[in-house]
Amino acid sequence: MRRLLTATALLCLPFLWAQGSGYLTVGRTPQVTGKRNAAVEAKIPISVQPGFHVNSNTPGDEYLIPLKLMWTSTGALEGGAVAYPKPSLEKYEFAAKPLSVFTGNFILAATFKVGANAPAGPGAATGKLRYQACNERACFPPKTVEVTVPYQVQ
């Protein structure tokens, strides 16, 4: 009986996890490597659940909440300018005009410079990605997810 209950719980786990993970997930960012003073680019994979969209970084309406990545700590790296992909203009039933949104999978590219006095070795830059998601008929409160960029100073 206990084994069957455990099996049932295990079967449910992926669904429970998916629900708790929100409408947008941040994938594992590949480590960036560079020498002192070198420019490095981190590619942060983002995934929006099918059937949902998030506002782009330039939603074109003062009341809409843009997608925004803010660094809380860059460690031995400097800068961190974020390049957002080109948004798509999608028409939804609830909006008179097409909205500037991100859907599916996309990459945020962050450019850093390795500090002149950065100690050799590993580290991580951390940030917070704020987003606000909707589907065709409803919107969901803004959320913030953690972003981590691992780096190696050579």
Partner: protein, 196 residues
């Protein structure tokens, strides 16, 4: 015996799949009014309006109320607001009121200009997490409750509904006999959830 356990386990998986493990927010509630016996009392609250006046849901006792949880960043909410303005205009003298509950974290700083821009003609209060919790979480916006004259929830619309659904629901509730006439009025609970 083993087959019984297996059936129970499979049933558990099925319930898990159907009832709560997916994205419940994607569903949109049906528009029909609940029969009187199935209605539950709408939780009372004490929330501030734009003038700082504390508004209790209990203040609306005896009226049909359209309680709309919304936010300025919510596109579907913006579609519904003009419908609610029309409902307020047409029915305010018939014992009906719209009450908006803003779920904007930024508060009146963003809500006040928004209301002015749209010319909203009904009362709006600033919501709180505890209020949302009392109404089942209200994670999807808009979420709109139609409340009968007894202060009971007659319908819930999660997500963008149709204008017709609201108009029909309100009309049905307005035309229903006032519960006071048949001596069956239920009082709203005196639960204050606090204002912010």
């Amino acid at each position: 015996m083993t087959s019984t356990y297996l059936s129970a386990a499979l049933a558990g998986v099925l319930v898990c799949l159907l009832a709560g493990c997916g994205n419940r927010e994607t569903s949109v509630a049906a528009a029909t009014l609940k029969p009187g016996k199935e209605r539950h009392v709408a939780p009372d609250f004490a929330l501030k309006d734009v003038n700082g006046k504390v508004v209790h849901l209990a203040d609306y006792r005896g009226k049909v109320v359209l309680l709309d949880f919304w936010a300025t960043w919510c596109g579907p909410c913006r579609i519904e607001i003009p419908w609610f303005m029309d409902l307020e205009r047409k029915n305010k003298d018939r014992g009906f009121a719209v009450l908006g509950v803003s779920m904007d974290d930024e508060g009146w700083e963003v809500v006040k200009p928004f209301l002015a821009e749209l010319g909203v003609n009904y009362r709006v209060v600033m919501g709180s997490d505890s209020t949302a919790e009392a109404y089942g979480g209200v994670d999807s916006l808009p979420t709109t409750f139609l409340i009968d004259r007894d202060g009971k929830i007659a319908a819930v619309h999660i997500g963008l509904a149709s204008r017709r659904d609201f108009e029909d629901g309100v009309e049905q509730l307005l035309q229903a006999d006032a519960p006071a006439a048949n001596g069956n009025r239920a009082a709203l609970p005196a639960v204050s959830l606090g204002a912010r």
